[in-house]
């Protein structure tokens, strides 16, 4: 607004009262929505702290009369997943073992792709990037069968190596398979994130490093990566959430004691025999959701900042 506009604008009457009313409306709405959003989690936590008879006999919103962690202990250590009754702890570690390498590998490869696509441009780089973007739009279901074929081949290699050298080198291992699947599937997204971030990264820094004598990987490791924290956090959160929450690939490519947390949780909850132990189910569900929550809380403040980074110049 120019000075002239300020002078010609009529003075606003009683600005304090208007803004007070607005404030009440804003905070009121915020409060209502906060309650709506927190309610499911609250019910889950309360239910998980109640014994089973209190759950089945009582009110869903009632506070637990004698809170106990029995249901949590059972979910973690002794509840039945399918036919084995050793809790979900093994599957929790399955997921960790699968998610951590998959997130790190796909993020690093995405960063490397972004670096090449912006700072070491080759003829046809647009086409390559376009194809990688296209990978973001391929539905999960459509890659199941080709992926199964490829993983089958890897399984054969695994058998071959087991027969000849006594170790499969990881080929055919369900966890390794899932890491491969998620890395391949996530590459389109991670490349997109890093390419757009590095697009705004000053090329003069790369040139200066070249003159200083740094090579391809030295520039990447010493100049680009240390200045990529925001986009790194965004990519890790995105990949972690997606891979941890994946059910389809986990259910398809990993079975038995190798299945990830999400599939195990389904098997706990969807049992068709005996009493449905809501308190144990709730505890298991919270445990299953905890790592993504943890990642958001720890890294969340970077998330919004990272998503906005590069949106505006300066």
């Amino acid at each position: 607004m120019s000075a002239a506009d300020l002078l010609s604008a009529p003075p606003s009457r009683e600005p304090s009262r208007t803004s007070a009313l607005t404030r009440v409306v804003i905070y009121g709405l915020l409060g209502i929505f906060a309650v709506i959003y927190i309610l499911p989690l609250l019910v889950m936590v309360m239910t998980s702290l109640k014994p089973l008879d209190e759950v089945t006999g009582g009110n869903m919103f009632a506070l637990p009369r004698a809170p106990s962690l029995d249901a949590w202990a059972k979910a973690w250590g002794t509840t039945c997943v399918g036919l084995t009754c050793e809790g979900i702890k093994g599957y929790f570690w399955n997921s960790i073992k699968m998610v951590v390498p998959a997130v790190l590998i796909s993020t690093m490869l995405g960063a490397l792709n972004g670096y090449v696509l912006t700072k070491w441009r080759f003829s046809g780089h647009r086409l390559v990037f376009g194809l990688m973007l296209f990978a973001c739009f391929i539905p999960f279901q459509s890659v199941l069968i080709p992926m199964a074929t490829i993983l089958g081949k890897l399984g054969q290699w695994g058998n071959f190596f087991t027969d000849t050298i006594g170790w499969s080198l990881g080929f055919g291992n369900p966890t390794v398979n899932l890491v491969i699947v998620h890395t391949v599937y996530g590459l389109g997204f991670t490349t997109l994130f890093f390419r757009n971030y590095y697009e705004a990264f000053p090329t003069e820094l790369v040139k200066a490093a070249q003159i200083d004598g740094a090579g391809f990987f030295q520039i990447f490791r010493r100049i680009l990566l240390p200045n990529s924290t925001p986009i790194f956090v965004v990519t890790v959160i995105y990949q972690f959430t997606n891979i941890w929450n994946d059910f389809l690939f986990g259910a398809t490519f990993a079975a038995g004691d190798q299945m990830p947390m999400t599939v195990a949780l389904n098997n706990v909850v969807n049992t068709s025999t005996g009493v449905i132990e809501y308190n144990v189910n709730m505890a298991a569900a919270i445990i299953a959701a905890a790592p993504t929550l943890f990642v958001y809380v720890v890294a969340g403040r970077y998330f919004v900042r990272g998503l906005m980074a590069g949106a505006v110049k300066g």
């Binding site: 000053p202 820094l205 040139k207 200066a208 004598g213």
Partner: protein, 370 residues
Amino acid sequence: MAFLEIEDLRKRFGATEILKGIDLTLDKGGFLVLVGPSGCGKSTLLNTIAGLESISSGVIRIDGETINDLHPSKRDIAMVFQSYALYPNMTVGQNIAFAMEMRRVPKSERDKAVADVAKTLQIEHLLARRPGQLSGGQRQRVAMGRALVRQPRVFLFDEPLSNLDAKLRVDMRVEIKRLHQSTGTTIVYVTHDQIEAMTLATRIAVLKDGELQQVGTPSEIYNTPANLFVADFMGSPSMNFIEARVARANGTASIVIDRDDAAAIAFAVPKSADASRLADGAKVKLGIRPEAVTDTESADRNSANLSKFDSPVEIVEPAGSDTFVVTRLAGKTVTARMRAETVVAPGQNFTFALNLDKAVLFDPATTKRI
């Protein structure tokens, strides 16, 4: 043999030629300034010397060694960028030491070199800071330190002062000149600022549209510009151009400025021009610097070729040290540079003196100097 030699250098992007056959040489310890309007190819030329851009044809030699296809890091050059290009994740000390670290120089040697350079540039107290915590001038110093520390054969500066405010720019200009004098390094410097070019250079190369217009010492460029473009581009305020014609009588040529509203001004051919090449009646453009147009009292008394004319004053611009007076001669605006104390008012009819020893003549058809 010159230290830096560039022969018939060409650079094409597809069908467009950015550099159209550049020939340049620079002696060891020289300060070459590439100057020209934006888009003239001066930065591209610098980047080809640095090896950041490939060349389409031609030869670049440093100290007799052809470096056309060498990687930037193998050319033994250092570059200061317009944006400084300091690594934001490293401290000032690490920034300066980075190139040596990449070349596996032992830590103790690195530390000593960094300390020496920091002392020269007076940035010792900044070594532990990060670039984000520095002011523009400090960043500029660090960028120079990063280049200096390696003691390269050639320094390349890409418009290093254009991000600084006016006062700091002048300070840093002096600093760079002092650095050049004390270290005797060979420098190639790109700028679009003709004052920077004049003050810093031992040699100036003026570029336009990828073609070299003129190469010479600052005084050659300023006093005997090769063509209208160079004459107009160098100097502030820029040179006055007046339409004139040649008159030949008894074998002697003279220059006549015809005026509609007053008597014509006639004078001998300026000494910079070759009088034998001037045909009777030929049209010429007379170029004369503002400082050669003065009031009659402060006109150069040693000048062999003085002329006077009366004309109404249009505008008076006091600039502190000088006063610029704008008038009109033969339909063209003419700026005169006078002492600050000169009493002159707009609308006043004033007698101007032209020091034609300092004038140059151009052929309007070819735009070249006669």
